[in-house]
C-alpha cells in the first residue's frame, strides 16, 4: 500500500504506467500490436502479488449501520466492496448503497484539491495556503470572542471521530459539533428511547409470529437495512413457521410489498388503530379514522391478541404525532409481553447514538440567520439540499462570517462555503465505528488518496498544532497516531485488530450534547389540500447523498422500477379521475412549496394520497446528480414533532395536472405475468402437503424431461449433446474422460423467492464485479438529429437500453381492476432474472460466429471478442437477459464513456470491458470460477464445496441466491436444486436452465376477516 509513498511518483501516475496486469481497460477489439511498457516495482512490496486481489477489512460509513466490508484491492487500488463475513453486523452481506461507496471514492467530480472563495467562485489553492487561511480565520474568530458561537455540522458517525472532534472544538473554545443524519428514523429513535431506554433495540424477526409495521420500512431505508434484511429473510425462510407481516401505512413501500397484508390506513390515523389494538378505542372508530373496513381492524386486533408475546410492532412514521404513536406501538409490544422476545432492548444497536435532532439544526439555522455565527464548518452534510426549503438553511448559511467545508464532493452546501478542505473518502481514511455496543470496527485506508485531499482529522490536528496556544493538547502528529494512542494495547494491538476488522472496546466518547436545544412544542401545520402527500426517503438514493453515484441512479427503485428521475405515485383510480396518464406531469403544492414530476400510477398508494421520493433535484453534487428530478424537500414544512424531529408525514397538498409529459425512466415492461409462471408461489400450508401444488400457467408445451441437477440430469446430457455418451470416441473437452475433467461440473444457481425481498443489492454487486456500464447519465444519450443530443437523464433507459445483467422483476398478482376500484389486496413477487445458462440455450445455435456456446462445465458463454453484434441471440432468448453495447460505453474516447477518469480505476481487471457493438450478459462470474480453479490448482487440490460464489450471491442481504456446482452433492446448490419448491422458468420451452427458482411462499392475510 505504501511502497512508493514519498517516492515522488504520484500514485495515479504510477498506476497509469503499471503495465504488468493492465487488462483493466481492456476493450474488445484492441489489437495485439499495441505494446506498452512493462514497469516493474522499484522495490517489491512484501505481500502483494501483482494481479492478485488483497482484501482489506474496513467499515462502511455510508450509513449509520456500520457494516463490515472488505475492500478488494488490486495493484494498489480498491476495485470492489464486499460484505465482511466475519463482521457481526452484516455477516457478509452488503447493500447497494454500501457497494456504491466506490463511486463516491472515484467520483470524477470530487474536489481534487482545497478550494478558496475568490469573488463569486471557489478556486483551487494549495494545502499550505488553505491551512494558512484557516488558521488566520480561526484566529480572527477567537480574537473577537466568537468561538463560542461556532457551528460544526458533521455527518453522523459513530466511533472515535465525534469524540476527537469535540476535543478539538473544545480546544478551540467552540461548542460541541452537531452530528447530522437526515436519514435516521428520528421519531422512532425518540420513541424507542422513551419506551425501551435505548435508541435502537435489536429486532428479532425469527422469534416473531406477527409483525405490525406502522410505516416501518425495515427493508427500504428505515433503520439498519442489511442486518434487518438478513434477519427478516432468515425468519421468512422458516416457511410455514415464518412470521406474518401486516403493513399499515398510506403507501405500500418495498417492506409493504413484502407484507402478507396491507392495511392502507389514512395518514394520521395510526393512533386510532393502536388505540383499538390496545383496547382503548373501538374498532369502529379506528376503521372510520383509517378509512378501512371495521372487520379488518377487528381481525387485526384479534390477530395481535392471538399472537401473544410473539407480536412485533414497529413504528416508522414521521408525522407530527410520530413519537406519541411510536410510544403506543411500543406499548403493544409491552402489553403483549414481547419486549425481550421479539424486541430486545438489551442488545441495542449503537449506530444511532448521538444524532442531533432536527431542532438542533433549526436552532443553528436560526442563529445563522440572526448573523450570530462567525464561523461554521460542514463535513459531508448537505442541509442546503437535504433540509426542507422552508427551513431557509441556504439563506441563513450565507450570513455566516466564514464557512468551511470538509466535504469531499461539491454539494449544494459546500458550494456556499468560503474554504473547502476536502476530506479523504472513508476508503482513504483511518477511523472506526461502533455498531454494536462494546464492539469497535475499524476503518482503514485501502489506497492512497485519489486526489490531493487530506483526512479531516489530520487537517484539524495540523491546524491545532499551528496554533501555539493549543498545540500542546495535540501530541500526535496525525489522526491515526491519535487513534492508536487511545487504543488499549497500542500500535501492535491496533495492527492486529485491523486484520480482524473488529475489536472489543469503546472509542473515546464525545461530549454528548445532543438535544441541547430546549424542547419546543410540536409544530406542523398539515396545510390544506385535496390529497395527502407522503414524502419518503428513496431506498436507493436516501435523501440525496446517493445521487452522485451512477450505480444508485441507475438502480431502479425497488418498488416503482424508475431510475434517474423523480416521479409522483398516484393511485390509478385517482389518475383516471384526474385524466392523468403515466408520465404526465403532476404538480404537488403544499403550504411550503411545490414540485412537479411525472405521474406513476401505482396501486400501492391510497387513492387520496400521492407519494414522492426524496433524493433527487440536486443543483450541485456532480454530473450524475445535477439536472435529475426534483427535490421533494421543497414540499416539507419546517414542522417537527414533540421530540424535535422533522415531521414529513401527513402533509396535505393540492395535486393538479401539469401540461408537460416526460416518459418514465422505467425498466418495467408489463407488471403482470400473463399467466406465464415466471414468479411462482405456493401457500405455506401446501409445503408439507403430500402433493406439491402446481401453479397453473399457460405456455403450452411438452416438457420432455424433468429437471434433475448434475450429471444425472438430461440437462447436462442434452447440453453436451452426443458427447455425454462415454462410449463416443474422443470428443475433446466434452468427453468425461478428457484430462481437464471440465465436463464433470455443472455450475448452477438457486434463487429462493421466499427469501428475496427485491432489495436489488445483487444488481449493484453485478455492476461492480462485471464492469457493467451505467448508461443513464445526461451525457450518454443518442443524437436526436445530427446536431442535437438527447440529454434527458436516463434517455437510454427510456429506450430500454439498461445494461443490468441481473434485474429484479416485480410482478403483481391480483387486483386487475385498479383503474376503477381501490383494493389493498394484491401481491408483489420479486424475481431476480439473469442469464439462465440454459442447457439447451436458444441463443447459442443462432450465433453465426460461435460467440456464444455451451462450455463443458455448463456455462452459457459469451465471447465478447468474437461477437460481431447480430443481436440474434437476444431475439431468441426467452428470458431477455442479453444486453447490447449500443454505444462505446467502454471506450474512453466516446462521448458515452461510462467511467470518466478516475472512475475507470474501479474496473475489475479480470473482466473485459466491452466495446460498442458487442453483446454481453451474466457469465455466472466466470472470472471467479477461473480464479477459484486457479487457486485450487496452485494449491494442488480440488475445489472445495462452496469455496466461492458469484458477486450477486455474495452481496445478497437475504441470502436468496446460492451458486455452485450442481453436479457435486457437497455444494449447497446441489441440495437446494432438489427442493420441493424448485422450478424452472419457461421449462416448457425445454431450455433446461441452470438457474433453479424456489417458489415464493405466501401466507394468508393475518388480519383477514371472514367477512372482509
Amino acid at each position: 500500500m505504501s511502497t512508493e509513498a514519498g517516492s515522488g511518483v504520484k500514485r495515479r501516475d504510477f498506476l497509469k504506467i503499471l503495465g504488468a496486469t493492465g487488462a483493466t481497460t481492456a476493450v474488445v477489439g484492441c489489437s495485439s500490436e499495441k505494446v506498452g511498457k512493462l514497469i516493474p516495482y522499484v522495490t517489491s512490496p512484501d505481500n502483494t502479488v501483482a494481479g492478485v486481489s488483497q482484501f482489506y477489512a474496513t467499515t462502511c460509513k455510508e450509513c449509520a449501520t456500520g457494516c463490515g466490508v472488505l475492500a478488494e484491492v488490486r495493484d494498489g487500488r480498491p476495485i470492489k466492496l464486499e460484505g465482511n463475513p466475519e463482521h457481526p453486523v452484516n455477516r457478509g452481506a452488503i447493500c447497494a448503497t454500501g457497494m456504491s461507496a466506490m463511486q463516491g471514492l472515484y467520483n470524477p467530480d470530487r474536489y481534487r484539491q482545497p478550494m478558496l472563495r475568490e469573488g463569486a467562485a471557489l478556486s483551487p489553492v494549495t494545502w499550505d495556503r488553505a491551512l494558512e487561511v484557516l488558521g488566520q480565520k480561526l484566529g480572527e474568530v477567537k480574537s473577537r470572542g466568537g468561538a463560542g458561537s461556532a457551528v460544526f455540522l458533521n455527518a453522523h458517525e459513530t466511533g472515535s471521530f465525534p469524540g476527537f472532534l469535540d476535543q478539538w472544538l473544545s480546544a478551540q473554545g467552540m461548542p460541541a459539533h452537531l452530528s447530522v443524519d437526515t436519514m435516521a428514523p428520528a421519531a422512532t429513535i425518540s420513541s424507542n428511547r422513551a419506551a425501551y431506554g435505548v435508541a435502537w433495540p435489536s429486532i428479532d424477526f425469527k422469534a416473531s409470529a406477527l409483525i405490525l409495521s406502522f410505516s416501518a420500512d425495515f427493508l427500504d431505508a428505515w433503520g439498519h437495512r442489511v442486518p434487518q434484511q438478513l434477519d427478516w429473510a432468515d425468519a421468512r425462510a422458516q416457511l410455514e413457521g415464518a412470521p406474518k407481516l401486516v403493513y399499515i401505512g398510506a403507501r405500500r413501500s418495498l417492506t409493504g410489498l413484502n407484507a402478507d397484508q396491507w392495511i392502507p390506513a389514512k395518514p394520521g390515523s395510526e393512533m386510532a388503530i393502536c388505540n383499538a389494538i390496545l383496547g382503548r378505542g373501538t374498532a369502529a372508530a379506528a376503521a372510520t379514522a383509517a378509512d378501512v373496513s371495521e372487520a379488518t381492524i377487528t381481525a387485526l386486533v384479534a390477530a395481535v391478541k392471538g399472537a401473544g408475546s410473539k407480536v412485533l410492532a414497529l413504528c416508522g412514521m414521521n408525522t407530527p404525532d410520530a413519537v406519541e404513536c411510536g410510544t403506543m406501538v411500543a406499548e403493544i409490544n409491552k402489553s403483549n409481553g414481547s419486549v425481550g422476545t421479539t424486541i430486545k432492548p438489551a442488545m441495542a444497536h449503537a449506530g444511532y447514538e448521538g444524532i442531533a435532532s432536527y431542532l438542533d439544526l433549526v436552532d443553528a439555522t436560526e442563529r445563522m440567520a440572526a448573523g450570530s455565527v462567525p464561523v461554521a464548518f460542514v463535513r459531508n452534510v448537505n442541509p442546503a439540499h437535504s433540509m426542507p426549503k422552508a427551513a431557509g438553511f441556504a439563506e441563513a448559511f450565507a450570513k455566516v462570517g466564514f464557512k468551511v467545508s470538509f466535504s469531499n464532493m461539491p454539494d449544494e452546501t459546500s458550494e456556499l462555503c468560503d474554504l473547502v478542505l476536502p476530506d479523504n473518502h472513508w476508503l482513504e481514511s483511518w477511523g472506526d465505528a461502533v455498531a454494536l455496543a462494546g464492539e469497535r470496527s475499524f476503518v482503514q485506508p485501502a489506497l492512497e488518496p485519489v486526489f490531493d485531499t487530506r483526512s479531516v482529522g489530520d487537517v484539524l490536528i495540523t491546524a491545532a498544532r499551528a496554533d501555539g496556544t493549543i498545540a500542546s493538547r495535540f501530541a500526535q502528529p496525525d489522526y491515526r497516531s491519535w487513534m492508536i494512542s487511545n487504543f488499549a494495547g497500542g500500535a501492535t494491538a491496533f495492527a492486529t485488530a485491523l486484520t480482524k476488522a473488529t475489536a472489543p472496546g469503546s472509542p473515546v466518547a464525545s461530549r454528548g450534547t445532543r438535544n441541547a436545544v430546549a424542547a419546543r412544542p410540536a409544530t406542523m401545520s398539515a396545510g390544506d389540500g385535496n390529497m395527502f402527500v407522503v414524502v419518503y426517503p428513496s431506498a436507493t438514493l436516501g435523501d440525496g447523498a446517493g445521487a452522485n453515484k451512477p450505480w444508485l441512479q441507475e438502480l431502479p427503485d425497488p418498488v416503482t422500477k424508475i431510475a434517474w428521475q423523480s416521479w409522483v405515485e398516484i393511485h390509478p383510480m385517482t389518475a383516471k379521475e384526474m385524466g392523468v396518464r403515466e408520465g404526465e406531469h403532476l404538480t404537488i403544492k403544499t403550504a411550503a412549496g411545490e414540485v412537479t414530476a411525472p405521474a406513476y400510477p401505482y396501486m400501492g398508494v391510497r387513492p387520496d394520497t400521492v407519494a414522492i421520493a426524496l433524493g433527487q433535484g440536486h443543483t450541485a453534487y456532480g454530473r450524475f446528480a445535477m439536472n435529475v428530478g426534483v427535490n421533494a424537500y421543497a414540499l416539507a414544512t419546517n414542522g417537527f414533532d414533540s421530540a424535535g424531529n422533522l415531521a414529513l408525514g401527513a402533509l396535505k397538498a393540492t395535486v393538479t395536472r401539469g401540461e408537460a409529459h416526460s416518459p418514465l425512466v422505467t425498466t418495467e415492461g408489463s407488471a403482470r405475468q400473463h399467466g406465464r409462471g415466471i414468479a411462482q408461489a405456493m401457500m405455506a400450508a401446501a409445503i408439507s402437503a403430500p402433493e406439491v401444488e402446481v401453479e397453473h400457467h399457460e405456455i403450452a408445451g411438452h416438457v420432455s424431461q424433468e429437471f434433475l441437477p448434475g450429471l444425472k440430469s438430461p440437462v447436462a446430457a442434452d447440453a453436451q449433446g452426443e458427447y455425454a455418451n462415454p462410449k463416443s470416441k474422443d470428443k475433446g473437452m466434452y468427453n468425461p474422460e478428457h484430462p481437464t475433467k471440465a465436463e464433470a461440473r455443472r455450475w448452477a444457481m438457486t434463487i429462493d423467492l421466499a427469501r428475496c425481498t427485491g432489495c436489488s443489492a445483487c444488481v449493484t454487486a453485478c455492476y461492480s464485479e462485471n464492469n457493467i456500464p451505467t448508461v443513464g447519465a445526461t451525457y450518454q444519450g443518442r443524437a436526436l438529429s445530427p446536431a442535437t443530443w438527447d440529454e434527458r437523464p436516463g434517455a437510454n433507459i427510456i429506450k430500454g437500453r439498461e445494461m443490468a445483467w441481473i434485474r429484479l422483476e416485480r410482478y403483481y398478482e391480483g387486483n386487475t381492476n385498479t383503474e376503477n376500484e381501490f383494493s389493498p389486496d394484491f401481491e408483489a413477487r420479486f424475481v431476480p432474472m439473469m442469464c439462465q445458462h440454459c442447457g439447451n440455450a436458444p441463443c447459442e445455435p443462432v450465433c453465426p460466429v460461435y460467440a456464444t456456446y455451451h462450455s463443458p462445465d455448463g456455462l452459457n458463454v459469451q465471447v465478447y471478442n468474437r461477437c460481431v453484434g447480430t443481436r440474434y441471440c437476444s431475439n431468441n432468448c426467452p428470458y431477455k437477459v442479453r444486453y447490447y453495447n449500443w454505444f462505446g460505453y467502454g471506450e474512453p474516447e466516446r462521448r458515452q464513456y461510462a467511467w470518466p477518469e478516475p472512475m475507470h480505476w474501479m474496473l475489475n481487471p479480470d473482466v473485459t470491458v466491452r466495446g460498442k457493438g458487442v453483446m454481453e450478459k451474466c457469465t455466472f462470474c466466470v472470472q471467479r470460477i477461473r480464479e477459484g480453479e486457479n487457486r485450487a490448482r496452485s494449491e494442488e487440490r480440488e475445489l472445495n464445496a462452496d469455496e466461492f460464489t458469484t458477486a450477486c450471491a455474495q452481496a445478497c442481504p437475504s441470502r436468496a441466491i446460492v451458486f455452485g456446482d450442481a453436479a457435486d452433492e457437497n455444494w449447497t446448490v446441489a441440495k437446494l436444486a432438489y427442493d420441493r419448491r424448485a422450478y424452472h422458468v419457461f421449462k416448457e420451452l425445454n431450455t433446461y436452465t441452470a438457474v433453479v427458482y424456489l417458489k415464493k411462499v405466501n401466507h394468508p392475510a393475518p388480519a383477514a376477516s371472514a367477512t372482509a
Partner: protein, 166 residues
C-alpha cells in the same frame, strides 16, 4: 484461318445453304445467327452439348464441399451450441444445397466458356458485324482450292454477300 464467308438475310436460304454445304463436305461450316433458330440447329445437327457434364460434376463437388466444410469445421473445434449435435446434417443440407448451386452454376458457366471457346480476343476472322444484327452468316473453312466452289454454292442460295477470308 482461311475460308469463305457468306451473309444471308433470309432464314430459309441460310438453312438450304447449310444443308447443301454439309452434303458437299467442302470444309468445316460455322453458322452465325443473330439469335437461336431451331431451323439452323436442325440443319447443323450437332451433337448434344457437353456443358451438362460440367453442371453435374460441379453440382456434386459443390454439395460435397458444402457438407464437408460444415461438418469438418464443426468437428475440428467442437463447441456445443444449444445442445445440438456437432455434425447436424439437417441444417447443413442448406449449406450443401447453396454450395451445390453456386459451384454447379459456376462450373456450368465455365463449361460454356470452355466449349464455346470464349472469351476470345478477336472476332475479325470469319465474322461480320451484321451477324449480330439482321443477317445470318456461313463461314466455310477451306483452302483456296475449294473456295470458288463454296462461293458458287453460297451465291446460288442467295447470299447477300460472299467474301474470302484470309
Amino acid at each position: 484461318m482461311q475460308g469463305v464467308l457468306g451473309a444471308f438475310h433470309h432464314l430459309d436460304t441460310t438453312v438450304h445453304a447449310i444443308e447443301e454445304l454439309k452434303k458437299a463436305r467442302l470444309g468445316d461450316v460455322t453458322v452465325y445467327s443473330p439469335t437461336i433458330r431451331h431451323e439452323i440447329d436442325e440443319a447443323i445437327d450437332a451433337p448434344n452439348s457437353v456443358v451438362r457434364r460440367f453442371t453435374l460434376i460441379g453440382g456434386l463437388l459443390g454439395v460435397s464441399f458444402g457438407y464437408w466444410i460444415s461438418i469438418w469445421t464443426g468437428d475440428y473445434w467442437p463447441l456445443v451450441t444449444g445442445g445440438k449435435a456437432i455434425a447436424s446434417w439437417i441444417p447443413y443440407t442448406i449449406i450443401g444445397f447453396e454450395v451445390m448451386v453456386l459451384v454447379g452454376c459456376l462450373s456450368t458457366v465455365a463449361g460454356m466458356f470452355i466449349n464455346a471457346r470464349i472469351p476470345r480476343l478477336t472476332t475479325t476472322v470469319g465474322y461480320d458485324p451484321r451477324f449480330s444484327g439482321g443477317h445470318f452468316g456461313i463461314f466455310v473453312s477451306c483452302g483456296a482450292d475449294k473456295a470458288p466452289q463454296v462461293e458458287a454454292l453460297l451465291q446460288k442460295h442467295g447470299a447477300d454477300e460472299v467474301r474470302r477470308e484470309a
